[in-house]
């Protein structure tokens, strides 16, 4: 049995805003019956251009119904511009989280919202049309690219959880992996190729410590200073609360080194030196 949050169960058992609005300003239908879930969204604006009413109908499981119900609650009272900023993560967060296999339910909510807004504006949703990668669920290349980029997805399984792509016959797994590799290689922070020069490496280490590491340590009253870089050894000195903290070694390995490995180069090692 799925471990649904109380909020998911609440929105499933008592869905808000069920139905269809006559003469809606925006409307959209996403998903289809073959895929196992579908969502029809309609909304109306008030005089100020805010969403006055929203209604939905969903064919799908408990979390699909709950995601749609939550989304309609979230957009009421928002302007089109504000509503357009709602992400699938926002919908999942509003519900107190979703099981990872069910993330695609919140994605369906966001897709319906996007499409309904595009309908209102008389536009076509950008970045959806394209080569179909997953035949079973009709998922296109731009849709997969976007999910990988927006959520920093690293595996085919994660892509399936978000988009359903690859969840049927599995024949497109290689194609999905290629998209992941391509998008991840282009993403900021991805391992640079060709290898960094020493100067680039030191700059990137400095930059990462400045932007990613120090702000996090400073939240706990700690701090860190880069002393030197020798080959792959990164010499640092702890400051503030870190200098007297018993867990500082752990922080250096689990956080500082991990961050540097992730964002600069996987072969880096962090060593503490006397200040």
């Amino acid at each position: 049995m799925w471990e649904y949050s109380d909020k998911v169960i609440d929105h499933f058992l008592h869905p808000r805003n069920v139905g269809e609005l006559e003469g809606a300003d925006g409307e959209a239908m996403v998903g289809n019956i073959a895929c196992g879930d579908a969502l029809k969204l309609t909304f109306k604006l008030d005089d100020q251009g805010r969403i006055q009413e929203a209604r939905f109908k969903t064919f799908g499981c408990a979390s699909a119904i709950a995601s749609a119900s939550a989304m309609t609650e979230m957009i009421k009272g928002l302007t089109i511009e504000e509503a357009a900023k709602i992400t699938d993560q926002d919908i999942a967060d509003y519900l107190g989280g979703l099981p990872k296999e069910k993330i695609h339910c919140s994605v369906m909510g966001r897709e319906a919202l996007e499409k309904a807004i595009a309908h209102y504006k008389g536009e076509v949703v950008p970045g959806v049309e394209g080569k179909v990668i997953c035949e079973c669920f009709g998922v296109t290349e731009p849709e997969i690219e976007r999910a990988v980029r927006d959520h920093n997805l690293k595996s085919v399984e994660e892509v399936t959880n978000y988009t359903k792509a690859g969840g049927g016959c599995g024949g497109c797994a290689d194609a999905i992996q290629e998209i992941i590799d391509r998008v991840q290689a282009a993403a900021p922070g991805a391992p640079r190729r060709p290898p960094l020069t020493n100067l680039q490496k030191i700059r990137l280490i400095e930059d990462t410590i400045q932007r990613e590491i120090r702000p996090a340590l400073q939240q706990d009253g700690g701090d860190l200073e880069l002393i030197d870089v020798v080959g792959d050894r990164v010499m640092v000195a702890t400051r503030g609360a870190c200098a007297s903290c018993a867990a500082a070694q752990l922080t250096l390995k689990d956080f500082v080194e991990a961050k540097l490995k992730e964002l600069v180069a996987p072969e880096l090692r962090v060593e503490e030196v006397a200040p």
Partner: protein, 395 residues
């Protein structure tokens, strides 16, 4: 809340008499049946009795009964044994609607280089015996067909299938996990070589199963270890569960009539009432050649997990062939193999009864269930739009 348990193909309640028989062997009579002392030896005698009780239900000889840990172990042992004892043969015949214990195993064996024939079924879940017969070749090591389907209850003609395999000198195995205790089985009357059963499907405990191996059948064990089960399955016996299984088999024989009269009548009452009371609903699978306790019904335009969670609020337990319940994204492989339309496949519910169900319970379900369907259909964008989407799935 009172629970109305209509999910007996998933697991069953351990019968009170079974539990009572098991309990002493956890604490007071904890001896090892292999020991030389009387303290252990008395347990060995009780195991022998359990073996006889299981054999009696199947029309088998006690020597032909091997205790295992579950139905899946029995299935794995049977297939692996056939491959090991006929090393020159590289082909397996089975069906597309088998339990994962066979289905996933043969998929694995395909990667090891074995050739697999998975026979299709028709829209009623029935097998074509001519097609089956043609699939049996001199290279076939074993044919394995389930006796009754866990999702639809549809019964395969395994006795005829076993005879056809015997004619060609091919071993025949059946996964009878859902059939044992629900329909009469007499292994003296047919040529089935191996049969799997699972304790927890017939009111015994989880963690005990049986592989029947007909006398004279070449056999290679899966678990190598001690001399238990005459060297055919190493590992100290799950004594309490085996003793409980013996009692459960005895009870199953006594209740066989009730299962096929009272339980069947309850199942039919439930099924007919739901079909009559809920438009656009239909039974999946052959309603004639079917287990007496199982009913698989599809409700158009809605999704099974949502149905299950709503009836859960009413204390009703059942299961579904929908995609969402399994964690996979596609509906059940059984319904797909039968070509059940998409509009129906996602909204399938399996009710499976036992002798413990009462008429009152069924009346309650008949009263409440249609309201759940109505509630979900009111939410569905596909309900009442006139033209139904009638795409048929390919398996």
């Amino acid at each position: 809340m009172t629970v109305i348990y209509l999910d007996n193909n998933a697991t069953t309640q351990v019968d009170a008499a079974v539990l009572e028989a098991m309990l002493p062997y956890y604490h007071e009579l904890y001896g090892n049946p292999s020991s030389m002392h009387t303290f252990g030896g008395q347990v060995g005698r009780r195991l022998r009795e359990a073996r006889e009780q299981v054999a009696a239900l199947l029309g088998a000889a006690p020597d032909e009964i091997i205790f295992t840990s579950c139905g899946s172990e029995s299935d794995n042992t049977a297939i692996r044994s056939a491959l090991a004892t006929f090393p020159g043969r590289r082909h397996i015949v089975t069906s597309r609607v088998e339990h994962p214990a066979i289905n996933a195993l043969v998929a694995h064996l395909a990667k090891e280089g074995y050739r697999i024939t998975e026979l299709p079924v028709d829209s009623q879940g029935r097998l074509n015996l001519d097609q089956y017969d043609q699939a049996l070749t001199p290279d076939t090591a074993i044919a394995s067909l389930m006796w009754a389907n866990n999702e639809t209850g549809v019964i395969f003609p395994v006795e005829q299938a076993a005879a056809l395999a015997r004619n060609k000198g091919i071993l025949f195995h059946t996964d009878a996990v859902q059939a044992v205790g629900k329909i009469p089985i007499d292994l003296r009357q047919n040529s089935i070589d191996m049969l799997s059963l699972s304790g927890h499907k017939l009111h015994a405990a989880k963690g005990v199963g049986v592989l029947y191996v007909r006398k004279g059948t070449k056999f290679a064990p899966l678990l190598i270890g001690g001399h238990q089960e005459k060297g055919r399955r190493g590992g100290t016996e799950n004594v309490p569960s085996i003793i409980g299984l013996g009692v459960a088999c005895q009870l199953a024989a006594q209740r066989m009539d009730e299962e096929n009269t009272r339980v069947k009548a309850l199942r039919d009452k439930l099924e007919n009432a739901l079909l009559a009371g809920i438009p656009k609903s239909r039974v999946n699978g052959d309603r004639v050649q079917r287990l007496p306790n199982t009913s698989n019904i599809s409700f158009e335009s809605i999704e099974g997990e949502a149905i299950l969670l709503l009836i859960n609020e009413l204390g009703i337990c059942a299961s579904s062939g929908s995609a969402c319940t399994s964690g996979s994204l596609q509906p059940s492989h059984v319904l797909r193999a039968m070509g059940v339309p998409f509009t129906m496949a996602h909204g399938s519910i399996r009710f499976s009864l036992s002798v413990f169900n009462t008429e009152r319970e069924i009346d309650y379900v008949v009263e409440k269930f249609p309201l759940v369907i109505e509630k979900l259909r009111a939410l569905s964008p596909y309900w009442g739009v006139g033209e139904a989407v009638c795409a048929t799935m390919e398996g």
